[in-house]
Amino acid sequence: MSENPFKIIEPREEIPATVKKEVMGSVKSVVLLLRFVQLFIGDFTSVFIDKFKTNAPKNK
């Protein structure tokens, strides 16, 4: 049985190390952006809940 030609044609080039730096940099930026957005959403929710508590009837 001859060798599977699909395995022979698979490229052998090494991926440049710079790609990892770029990928991890982009991922880091995305994570920071998500955390930043969450911070605002979190604050908005907590402000909303505080407001809700303040306006709640006092006799409950």
Partner: protein, 191 residues
């Protein structure tokens, strides 16, 4: 929480759970190290240009990170990643008009007993000729053949990757093999 050594030994699927839970980008580096070469090679085999393949690899990993929470854990992580890679490359080629129109050809009906013969003919092709054949047939047929013969994906994983049932996968595979063999014969005769 697992330490770095344990994380390096963790399965892909365990790592995905950890990353989704913690959103820690450095853990994603472990998955990158495991699969970047494979993804880069797949991009090269589609776009044939190292710079474009580099950019595609970057975009594929970023998309993978952003979609990790959508990974359902039904299929293996590698199957999911390769499927995303193939589809990303095909979309890129379509957007950049890099997809050649496949010549219209009436495919003869392929009987069941032809399948083994087609596979044997495929396996006997010379590597450099096979490369030319794969660049001539449609990108979707090329993808199916690479999944089966380069990635060694079993039918069950191809069902997940292609989102179709077993008989549909087998039919797509059979048609792709027939197209490759017919194209080979058109290009090189019956040598």
């Amino acid at each position: 929480m697992l330490n770095l050594k344990n994380k390096r030994n963790a399965s892909d699927e365990e790592l995905v759970k950890i990353i989704v839970k913690s959103n820690r980008h450095d853990d994603f580096g472990i998955l990158y190290d495991r699969y970047s070469e494979k993804v880069y090679h797949k991009c090269i085999s589609f776009v044939k240009d190292l710079d474009e393949a580099k950019d595609l690899t970057h975009d594929i990993f970023l998309k993978t990170f952003l979609n990790l929470s959508k990974f359902s854990h039904k299929a293996k992580f590698s199957t999911w990643l390769y499927s995303l890679t193939y589809n990303f490359c095909i979309d890129y080629m379509r957007k950049n008009n890099k997809i050649k129109k496949e010549p219209e050809e009436a495919l003869r009906h392929i009987a069941d007993d032809d399948d083994a013969l087609l596979e044997r003919e495929l396996m006997q092709m010379k590597a450099e000729r096979l490369t030319k054949v794969l660049d001539t047939i449609s990108v979707k047929d090329k993808m199916v053949l690479l999944m089966k013969y380069q990635d060694d994906m079993p039918i069950t994983e191809m069902m997940d990757a292609l989102e179709c049932n077993e008989s549909a996968v087998k039919m797509r595979l059979k048609r792709a093999k027939a197209k490759a063999v017919n194209t080979y014969k058109t290009m090189y005769g019956d040598e």
